[in-house]
C-alpha cells in the first residue's frame, strides 16, 4: 500500500464530510442569491450539525426503537461507502470493491433508510411521507438504471467505474440524453424541489423526518450532505468522462453538475406524486428508449457521435 493510499483512507471521511457541508452551504447560498437574499454564512451547516448533536434526542413512545435508531446509520453508511468507492475510482483509476452495479445498489440505501426510519416512527405525517418516498423510488430508479445501461452500451459493455470514465463518449447524442435524465433522477434522489414530494416541508412537515430530533436528525443531515458529494461525483464519473489525468477538470465538472442541480431546484415548483411518476415513466422512458436505439446503432455502425 503506497503512501497516497494510506493518506486516502485516513482523509476520506473528514474530507468528504467537509466537502458535503460546503456543498450544502452552496445550495443554501445560491438559493438565497437567486431569491435576492443575503444567505447564511459558510460555517452554517457545521453549526447546524453541532447544535443538533448537542440537543436532546426524543424517541416517540409508539416507535419501533431499533429500526428508528438504525435507519439513519444504514443510510449514512451506504452513502459514505458510495463516496469512498467513487473517490477511489476518480483518484487512483482503480476499482475498489466492485463496479457500477455495486454503486447502483449503494445508491438505493439512503432512500431505503428513509423509508424504514419513517415507517418505524409511528406518525401519520411520516406515513404519508413514506408512501410518497416509496412511489418516488419506484418512479426514478428505472430511468436511472436505464441511463447507466446506455452508457454501458456506448462503452461496449464495460462495467468497471474508472474504465467507463476513460472510454465514455461525452459528446454523443445518446450520452447527452442519458445525462439529462440521470440529472433529473439525481434531483429526485437528493429530495430537491421539483421532486421533494416526500419531504414537502409546507405540506406534510418534512414528512419522512418528522419525528427525528437531536443526534439522529444530525445523522440524516450528514447523510444528505454526503449525498451532495457522492451523487454529482457519480454523474461526473459515468457521463462526463471522470477526473482525467489532472484533478482540476474533474472539480470543474463536479461544480457544474452541482450548480445545474441548484438552478433546477430554484426554478421549479413542487410536482404531485402522480405527475412525478408520469414524468419519469412516460417522458423519461421515451427519451431513454430513443437514446438506447441511438446508442445501439452507434455501436453497430461504429458512429461515435450517436
Amino acid at each position: 500500500m503506497t503512501f497516497a493510499k494510506i493518506l486516502f483512507w485516513i482523509l476520506v471521511l473528514p474530507v468528504s464530510l467537509l466537502l458535503g457541508l460546503f456543498a450544502s452551504w452552496l445550495v443554501r447560498k445560491v438559493s438565497a442569491r437567486v431569491q435576492w437574499r443575503k444567505g447564511p454564512p459558510v460555517c452554517q451547516p457545521l453549526w447546524d450539525i453541532m447544535k443538533l448533536l448537542g440537543k436532546e434526542t426524543l424517541i416517540p413512545q409508539d416507535a419501533q426503537q431499533t429500526v428508528f435508531i438504525a435507519a439513519p446509520l444504514v443510510g449514512m453508511a451506504g452513502v459514505l461507502l458510495l463516496a469512498t468507492i467513487l473517490a477511489y475510482a476518480a483518484l487512483f483509476k482503480q476499482p475498489l470493491v466492485g463496479d457500477i452495479i455495486v454503486a447502483i445498489y449503494l445508491m438505493v440505501l439512503p432512500s431505503l433508510g428513509l423509508i424504514l426510519g419513517s415507517s418505524a416512527s409511528a406518525s401519520p405525517h411520516a406515513a404519508v411521507g413514506t408512501s410518497r418516498e416509496m412511489k418516488l423510488v419506484m418512479g426514478y430508479e428505472l430511468p436511472l438504471v436505464l441511463a447507466f445501461v446506455i452508457v454501458i452500451i456506448n462503452t461496449g459493455g464495460i462495467l468497471s467505474l474508472p474504465t467507463i470514465a476513460e472510454n465514455t463518449t461525452v459528446l454523443s447524442i445518446s450520452n447527452i440524453l442519458a445525462f439529462l435524465v440521470a440529472l433529473l433522477c439525481v434531483q429526485a434522489k437528493l429530495g430537491f424541489v421539483p421532486f421533494d414530494i416526500a419531504e414537502a416541508e409546507t405540506e406534510i412537515m418534512s414528512g419522512v423526518m418528522v419525528e427525528y430530533s437531536g443526534a439522529l436528525l444530525a445523522i440524516w443531515k450528514i447523510m444528505q450532505a454526503l449525498m451532495l458529494v457522492a451523487l454529482p461525483l457519480f454523474l461526473v464519473q459515468v457521463f462526463l468522462g471522470g477526473f482525467g489525468a489532472t484533478i482540476w477538470p474533474g472539480i470543474l465538472k463536479y461544480v457544474l453538475v452541482l450548480v445545474l442541480i441548484i438552478l433546477i431546484k430554484n426554478t421549479n415548483p413542487r410536482v404531485r406524486i402522480d405527475q412525478a411518476m408520469k414524468f419519469f415513466w412516460v417522458y423519461c422512458g421515451i427519451l431513454l428508449f430513443a437514446a438506447g436505439v441511438l446508442a445501439a446503432l452507434g455501436n453497430l455502425y461504429e458512429l461515435r457521435w450517436l
Binding site: D48, K55, L58, M205
Partner: protein
C-alpha cells in the same frame, strides 16, 4: 460557555405555533423571512416539526382549545429550547382580556407545563419584524 449553547445561538430553528391569533403576528413572522429582513443570515430557519425546533414562536391569546395543544407542542420540543411570545396577546391577553374563551396568557400555560421554561416576550400589536429580530437577539445573548 459550552459548545452546545454556542452552536444553539448560531442556528436557532424556529417552529411557529398559533394559539388563537388573529393572523396579524403570523404575517409579521413570515415577513422576517422575506428578502428585506432575511433572518437566514443568522442561521434562523422556519421548520415544519416541533421535533426539529430550538425555539417556539407562539402567537395568539391562548384559547381554551389551544392551551392543551401548546403544552403538547412544548413537550414535543427537544430541550434546551426557548419560547418566544410574539405580540400583545400571548404576553398578556391584549384586547381579549376577560373573554369567555381565554385561558391565557400563554406564559402561564407554558409555566404550568415547565416552571423553568425560558420565555422571551415581544409585545406589540403586531410587533414589527425589527422588534421580533431584536427580541430573538436579546434572548439568545442572555442564554
Amino acid at each position: 460557555m459550552s459548545w452546545k449553547i454556542q452552536a444553539l445561538k448560531r442556528s436557532p430553528w424556529v417552529f411557529h405555533v398559533n394559539a388563537g391569533a388573529c393572523n396579524n403576528c403570523d404575517i409579521e413572522i413570515v415577513n422576517c423571512l422575506t428578502p428585506r429582513y432575511d433572518i437566514e443570515r443568522f442561521g434562523i430557519k422556519l421548520v415544519g416539526s416541533p421535533r426539529h425546533a430550538d425555539a417556539l414562536l407562539i402567537t395568539g391569546v391562548g384559547t381554551a382549545q389551544a392551551a392543551p395543544r401548546v403544552k403538547e407542542v412544548y413537550r414535543q420540543t427537544p430541550k434546551p429550547c426557548v419560547v418566544f411570545l410574539i405580540g400583545a396577546c400571548p404576553c398578556g391577553t391584549g384586547i381579549f382580556r376577560g373573554g369567555y374563551h381565554v385561558v391565557g396568557p400563554v406564559d402561564k400555560i407554558i409555566k404550568e407545563e415547565d416552571p423553568n421554561a425560558i420565555i422571551c416576550y415581544v409585545p406589540g400589536c403586531p410587533p414589527k419584524p425589527e422588534a421580533i429580530i431584536s427580541g430573538v437577539v436579546k434572548a439568545l445573548s442572555a442564554l
